[in-house]
Amino acid sequence: MQMADAAHPISHAAVPHGDAHGHGHHPNLEHHFDSLTQQFDAGKLGMWLFLATEVLLFGGLFCAYAIFRRNHPEVFMYAHQYLDTTWGAINTVVLLVSSFTMAWAVTASQRGQRNLTSLLLALTFLGGVGFMVIKAIEYQHKFHDGLMWGTHYDPSKHGHGHGEGHGAAAHGAAAAAGHAAAGDGRGGAAESHAAGAAASAGAAGDHGASAAHPEATTSVHAPETPGQGASAAAADADVPPERAPLEPSQVALAPSGPAGLHVGGHDLHGPRPDNVHWFFGVYFTMTGLHGLHVLAGMAVIGWLFVRSVRGDFSADYFTPVDLGGLYWHLVDLIWIFLFPLLYLIH
């Protein structure tokens, strides 16, 4: 490929620097380039190389994602349900549309349509604003619900009724299960386990579960059967469900694999597996870094807008718009992958 480049460099007469005034010397032509084409090609090549570095930068995060998901699919199956697919889909549309307006802006600037270019750049910028606002709303929900990374992950905040509903359910479950463990968390695993306790734990758990997950985002429903309730509530309360004699259906609901969650359809909440924080770690790093790129892209587009209004661009010189556009599309590209990977796990 590179050889092809080299095959015919002589075919382009070098325009000697000195005698070419008036011909190739566009005001936007830098002194070390011979022609606008060369300058444009160099810019494009540079931008693509930069995009390659961006791809590799995100590549590290995709690697982390792949490793955590491959090793612990249950965490992803469970935790992604806390993401709001509707907001995610809206954001996808917002970005796609802004990508389109950006592409249009490039075309417009290539045709020298200055006002149209400015307008489209402004629209693209607004797309960025919209995306970030929605992202901010989503983040705020996550923060509020303790759906965060690492040590900050706090399942006790998941529902509305932190203090009341959740706590009550937990205690109910614990009491029903016959735990003498209330005062002594460490010994909780031991002691007596009345065989019938699980049933009442289930009842209490059902209650607990609905209290624990009423956030009513699109498709998340509280589990219907008492058995699931037991495990969900117990899990949320972090009271071990002990050796509750389980119905077969509940065994099938084992939290550990994809198979478990398929029972009952897509909108099952399922019991909470361990280390849910991984998912949110991945979620926040990926969307966070992507968000930073959106902000950077918005800064670039804002700058392009100013220049466009000022009349810097013409049919001869639109390289910055084109390159800025490439960057913005890359940001869109990454989101195209992030959306299904984070929101649409099945």
């Binding site: 695993a189 031991a190 050796r243």
Partner: protein
């Protein structure tokens, strides 16, 4: 592996394990290949430097600027040599990594900045003692950061980390003379006193001598008579009161107590009776089938995982989420004790 190639030019430490001859052989092989090429290249270079040094009026001779035959030959010959080297490295490596089944097992705990070895009789000791000619497996974990276990004389090294057990095995072939020892070193940088995280490895001539040392190392022997009485009255209270005296109780004994006190016995019998969970009797080394994971042998990692994260693997034939997590309710030491206890439970041996 004999003759001129065997002495490694005196570069290697004493050969004290079964690995050493093979490692040293390949070291020597590579060394002599390297010396050959180095002498060839540098010799020619020096020759050219003298012969073709700049002299007034003498211009460089124009020689061909490339020769495919020549260039291919110095591409192909090194290729063959490195394939041989790879094979040698691969073979010795596999020997180092494939553990014998009947090996004597010693636990290794690394922490900033000390080693501690746990012997099968429950003694915890800062020194590593092993019998000669007996394969020994070290099962290692770290309390904090990365460490790396290294005995130069044995040619073995393995990182020790938190988060998973790593293993290492060797068979000593050379007893350490009385009063001398092989140094055990930490080679993964672990903080301020990294360089002092060393200890002794003593290789006993006979198994009997080693067993004798093991008995003598029993901390109970170091107790005063009053302390000994006190210990007998209530071992756990005594141990709690004397944290400085380590290894007072065998991990297996400790494990049995935990089985009794932590609630394990509610579901796991030790007499083979099937409960809510599998019986521990004879379970060690069995292969378990799961509904959500590939079959796994019952080993340290599996047991540890089953305790702290029981839902990771759903054992076929048992309820998947019957077992609570003991995360935060049990220490690593206690888990080790339980593992030690399980290991003692041969099939059908107990009936309680």
């Amino acid at each position: 592996m004999t003759g001129i190639l065997a002495d490694s030019l005196g570069l290697m430490p004493p050969k004290a394990s079964t690995f050493a001859p093979a490692v040293d052989f390949w070291f020597d092989f590579t060394l002599w290949v390297s010396i050959f090429f180095f002498v060839l290249i540098i010799g020619l270079m020096l020759l050219f430097m003298v012969k073709y040094r700049r002299r007034p009026g003498v211009r460089a001779v124009v020689t061909p600027t490339h020769s495919t035959a020549l260039e291919l030959s110095w591409t192909v010959i090194p290729t063959i040599l490195v394939v041989i080297m790879f094979w040698g490295g691969f073979k010795t490596y596999m020997d180092q990594r494939v553990m014998p089944l009947d090996a004597y097992e010693i636990g290794v705990n690394a922490k900033q900045w000390a080693w501690e070895f746990t012997y099968p009789n429950g003694i915890r000791h800062p020194e590593l003692h092993v019998p000669k000619d007996v394969p020994v497996v070290l099962t290692m974990y770290s309390d904090d950061v990365l460490h790396s276990f290294f005995i130069p004389a044995f040619r073995v090294k393995m990182d020790v980390m938190r988060g998973r057990y790593t293993k290492l095995w060797f068979q000593a072939t050379l007893a350490s003379p009385p009063g001398q020892y092989y140094p055990v070193l930490c080679t993964e940088y672990c903080g301020t006193s990294h360089s002092t995280m060393t200890t002794k490895c003593v290789v006993h001539e006979t198994r009997a001598e080693f067993e004798q040392w093991l008995r003598d190392a029993d901390p109970l022997k170091k107790l005063t008579p009053e302390q000994y009485d006190e210990y007998l009255r209530d071992p756990s209270a005594f141990i709690a009161a004397h944290p400085d005296i380590q290894g007072l109780q065998s991990p297996a004994d400790m494990g049995r107590k935990l089985w009794d006190s932590k609630g394990c016995k509610q579901c796991h019998s030790i007499d083979g009776k099937v409960g809510t969970g599998p019986s521990w009797s004879g379970i060690w080394g069995q292969t378990h089938e799961f509904s959500n994971a590939p079959p796994t042998a019952v080993d340290e990692n599996y047991v540890k995982e089953s305790i702290v994260n029981p839902r990771a693997k759903a054992l076929k034939g048992y309820a998947a989420n019957a077992m609570p997590t003991y995360q935060g309710r049990i220490t690593d030491r206690e888990i080790d004790s339980i593992i030690a206890f399980i290991k003692t439970l041969k099939s059908g041996s107990e009936a309680k």
